[in-house]
Symmetry: C2
Subunit: 288 residues, 2 copies
């Protein structure tokens, strides 16, 4: 597997790392980046994530063998529609499109409308959550990371195989899930932690406004717990808007756990508290 | 300020680091450790946190100028009572007692019953939350850390000054708060994050049991968010039991934020979501 031209739409942390990873392994002849801002393209070029950049889709697409969408998910869905409209640029040529978005149900559904010859296979590399921008790109960002791929029964077998080869070549471990299965799983393990981090930061910031002094007391634990809150606003807004059902479920479950804990604490139930703390402690140690 | 004999009750991460910090700066002639387990004492001696150890309070106390309580808070309160009962060992001699517990209202109240000649000033160095045991002790653990001290109107001015000198000598920045003010502040910035981490770990572990596969997908963000859940069960049980009112308040507030977020997501309110995410993002960046 070796590509002629690869187009990266959104060469930020993930996109530029993808380009860098392909280029450093000699897997692409040319990598072109598309971004809204020229400064993003300049940085992506400077770190070697793309060879050249453009702000116009009709310049980025012609001749591409592979398109990698690494924008917030709603923007990626928009791009799929725009790429459909430019399908005349690909007459007779196959195009593989994949993405790195954190929700899969809506984008896979949208990809169903792509014209023949364009294969979309959804992807989600589990790496690099809290940093943004091509300046943080690394050619080994995906080494050892789980990379979820979400083909459906309509997917071209060959396209799935090519995406699996890419993942393997970049050092990732591919894991096949249905789009809905993916969205439920990441709701628990990625979206819920992120939203807890956001609300914790919000609550602390409001407490600080009311009664200054909180930051002096914030130790490494607080910093760890709020790191995710520094993530991209645009990316996370789109995640919330495209994973409503699964999020609703995990948030509601968490809220009911909170309520239970409040009652346990209010009642001073030492044994029940010990049980909760011990189970979490053991579970955490098992994943170390 | 230089001590003859210092007794450390509970020479774990914090206690052994305290001993190591005093010894390395030549601030104590002799440091004696008291622990339930001999292995704790052996490790604390091996890393240089204490000079010798004992499992008996009546052997640890005689001749001490300073007692440092670094056990879970309910155990520390018990020790205060036991020290009172052994006050004949200190006839005519002044004793300064301080602690490193994460809640202050109950221990300061308990210290009110100490006999004359024994001065207790509550302390809480904000360092080393997620590791436990003397094997992780470091002589510079307190360098640059905020060290809350909680004297009351009944406290001996001289004892407060000595504790401030210790904190400064160890590189900490002392911050004076009332015991209740301390407990409210740490409820927001330390106890709430810890309990969120515990419940997140609990929810993920139960989800994994129901439908295995979650750990494969857990990236660094999840690991950051659950690190605190690996903390000491005993310490955190006591924290919950001795900071009920403040915890009740922050947990309830957080639960109502969660409920609000659920509604915003369910209604697909993009602007409101963006506002929440943006505020948290900016607040997080301000504390970097």
């Amino acid at each position: 597997m070796k590509f002629g031209k690869v187009t990266i739409i959104g060469p930020g942390l993930i996109g530029a790392s993808f380009g860098l990873a392909l280029k450093s392994r000699g897997l692409a002849k040319e990598v072109v980046g598309l971004a809204r801002r020229k400064s993003t393209l300049q940085t992506a070029i400077a770190i070697g994530g793309i060879d050249r950049g453009t702000t116009k889709l009709e310049e980025a697409l012609p001749g591409a063998d592979l398109v990698f969408l690494s924008t917030p998910v709603l923007a990626a869905i928009d791009f799929l529609e725009k790429i459909s409209q430019l399908s005349h640029l690909f007459s007779g040529k196959k195009l593989l499109i994949t993405d790195a978005c954190s929700t899969k149900t809506e984008i896979v559904e949208a990809a169903g409308k792509l014209p023949p010859g364009m294969d979309f296979i959804g992807g989600h590399p589990m790496a690099g959550a809290e940093l943004t921008g091509p300046e943080h790109a690394r050619e080994n960002l995906f080494m050892g990371a789980t990379w979820i791929i979400t083909p459906t029964s309509d997917s071209e077998k060959k396209a799935v195989a090519v995406l699996q080869e890419i993942v393997a070549a970049l050092g990732g471990r591919s894991l096949q899930l249905s789009p809905e299965g993916h969205d439920q799983l990441v709701a628990s393990v990625s979206h819920l932690p992120h939203l807890l981090s956001v609300l914790l930061m919000e609550q602390a910031a409001e407490a600080e406004e009311e009664k200054p002094g909180i930051w002096q007391v914030a130790a490494s634990g607080f910093r760890d717990m709020t790191r995710l809150a520094g993530g991209s606003v645009e990316v996370w807004k789109d995640i919330c808007l495209t994973n409503k059902a699964a999020l609703q479920q995990v948030l509601e479950e968490f809220r009911s756990r909170l309520e239970g804990l409040e009652k346990t604490i209010a009642a001073g139930e030492a044994e029940a508290l010990e049980e909760i703390l011990k189970n979490a402690n053991l579970a955490r140690k098992r994943i170390e």
